[in-house]
């Protein structure tokens, strides 16, 4: 591997890591901070991707689709919380697993009924469809770099929200002691509804942004679910920076695993997870 190629592989790792952070960010909120074992996270991602497909077909522009789709996903998340998840906070984790697993099946079947089982594509907006030449044979799509930029902005935004705002303070307090927060006169139900809806909107945003490069297909939610949990767990449950570091670590492990030890590339990610958890059982940056 010559040096240029090595540098390009590092770029690939960073870019993939950031994309993984984007995909896992919704779960950081819902699982990491609210403590709900949300197996339907992948479904929200899938819903986002299909929203992008449907709205792009309708409006002809992905950016417009995202602007329209985000509030839709947020409202959908709030409704879902009001209808189902609100009843689960004080219950056993097993019941959360059952409900969210059920939701996977329902969403997948609804998707099949509404849109069908074909593979669909979403076009990259013309503004970002160019590629930047890197070597004589290889160039890099601008859209991927754009996604990376969005991910970095998102990481900073999430951190700021959680650590530097009053809302973030209330959320963190609520995740420690619901009853005490309520006793202090904060509407904990509304607070949780907002956070959950935000988590769903983030998962959907990830699906929408990834739709042009990943294509839109049945079962796409399942492909991101496990990796999202891996990232949240090794990052340290509840930590935004931890999730970012974990995502980058996985990005590097996956990219260089494929290049250097293709026979065991499937293991690389889980090997990293095992090592990190042996070293720090609570994850890289455990909060509280």
């Amino acid at each position: 591997m010559d040096f240029t190629i090595f540098l390009i592989q590092i770029l690939n790792s960073l870019q993939y890591g950031l994309l993984l952070f984007l995909v896992a960010s919704g779960l950081t909120l819902v699982f990491g901070i609210m403590g709900i074992i949300n197996l339907a996270h992948g479904s929200f991602y899938m819903i986002g991707a299909y929203l992008a497909f449907a709205l792009t077909s309708l409006t002809g522009n992905l950016m417009l689709a995202i602007v329209l789709g985000l509030p839709l996903a947020f409202i959908f998340g709030a409704l879902l919380e009001w209808l189902l998840f609100a009843h689960l906070y004080k219950r056993d984790h097993l019941e959360q697993v059952l409900l969210t697993y059920g939701l996977i099946l329902i969403f997948e079947e609804l998707r099949s009924l509404a849109i069908g089982d074909d593979v669909h594509g979403v076009n990259i907006p013309a503004l970002f469809s160019a590629s930047i030449p890197l070597s004589d044979t290889l160039s890099y799509p601008v859209y991927r770099l754009l996604i990376s930029a969005v991910c970095i902005a998102l990481a900073v935004g999430l951190w700021w929200l959680m650590q530097r705002t009053r809302l973030g303070m209330m959320i963190r307090a609520g995740s420690h002691d619901r009853d005490m927060v309520q006793a202090l006169g904060i509407d904990i139900n509304l607070l949780y509804r907002t956070v959950f809806a935000l988590g769903v909107a983030l998962a959907a945003l990830a699906g929408m942004l990834a739709a042009p490069i990943s294509s839109v297909y049945p079962g796409m939610g399942g492909s991101v679910l496990i990796i999202s949990f891996v990232i949240v767990v090794i990052g340290g449950i509840g930590s935004v920076w931890g999730a970012l570091i974990a995502a980058l670590l996985i990005g590097f492990a996956d990219t260089f695993g494929k290049v250097l030890v293709p026979e065991f590339a499937g293991l690389a990610v889980y090997l990293v997870m095992a090592i990190v958890l042996l070293w720090r059982p609570e994850g890289i940056l455990k909060k509280g």
């Binding site: 591997m1 010559d2 190629i5 390009i8 592989q9 690939n12 790792s13 870019q15 993939y16 099949s112 069908g116 089982d117 074909d118 593979v119 669909h120 594509g121 076009n123 590629s131 030449p133 070597s135 044979t137 290889l138 160039s139 890099y140 799509p141 859209y143 991927r144 042009p212 490069i213 990943s214 294509s215 839109v216 297909y217 049945p218 079962g219 796409m220 492909s223 996956d254 990219t255 260089f256 494929k258 290049v259 293709p262 026979e263 590339a265 499937g266």
Partner: protein, 391 residues
Amino acid sequence: MKQARRNAVRTLAALTVGALLPIGAAQAAEKIKVGLMLPYTGTFAALGTAITNGFKQYVAEQGGTLAGREVEYFVVDDESDPAKATENANKLVKRDQVDVLVGTVHSGVALAMAKVARDNKTLMIIPNAGADELTGPLCAPNVFRTSFSNWQPGYAMGKVAAEKGHKTAVTMSWKYAAGDEASNGFAKGFEASGGKVLKHLTLPFPNVEFQALLTEIASLKPEAVYVFFAGGGAVKFVKDYEAAGLKNSIPLYSSGFLTDGTLAAMGGSGEGLLTALHYADGLENAKDKAFRNTYATTYKLQPDVYAVQGYDAAQLLKAGLDAVKGGKLEQPAMIKAMEAATIDSPRGAFTLSKAHNPVQDIYLRKAEGQENKVVSVAAAKLADPARGCRM
């Protein structure tokens, strides 16, 4: 020795059939019980439906019967789940006592089905699954295939790539049986005609993060690239290949599944891709035209290669039934007739190899708009080498 064993197997088969028949014969002497074990939900649902449609279309063309027998269907959704495959196949064979198992799409499921078929001496027709083993080391007198082996389109593509003057190639697929078999076929075809495969790149199934391997392709600078991907992964790969700027510098070749049913989703990225498969759009034969017209009017859908494979499964079964007239379903006679049959397929007529895999023309196709237009015959009357088949 081999002959003796074969005779023993046949006798055993005849005895089993003979022992079972009186029960069946008492209620339904005329009927043929067909067990359709195909995916009707999940990723491959559309394929299962197309195969079923094709099969039923041929039966309908025969006036609703096969060789004069009424067809009774027993349908199981295999969900493309290998873990449930043995149980599902057993349901059809043991509970419903079907005369023939038809299925399936997913190779892992088909392998489990074939084991049940072998153990119970049930006739089986595979209308898609391409695993080489099915008509290789695991071949059996009662197991037939009307589709292809993964090796076939790969080999034909390798031959064409070498004929186009490429000297070096890199192959790439998911790390699973189908990908390895197809890439292996490509390497055989390519190297037999003087090319050299530099490297076989793999990534774990169903991972679709191709960037690292695309970078490696760019650094290896081969003259051609062969890939085996299907479905959502195929769409993503073709888009990424173009976005990485490789489409214009290194020609991309593939087995036909890359561009079957995925061209719309690829947008313009798929335009002009060359692929090899045993079926194509724009074949100039009357059988294909008639087939496509009937299919389109009956199901309000455009037929695809899967529908053709289902249609041919029914044709092959009829060839077997013709041999036993209206009488008992004697398996040895049926197998003999099926082995000797020439199937008048929409893809062009084909016969079966000794291992029961189609000996067929593999077409070179070019993606134009939403169609994979036939360019030429990449390999005529290509037979799978059936390595490891002793029959």
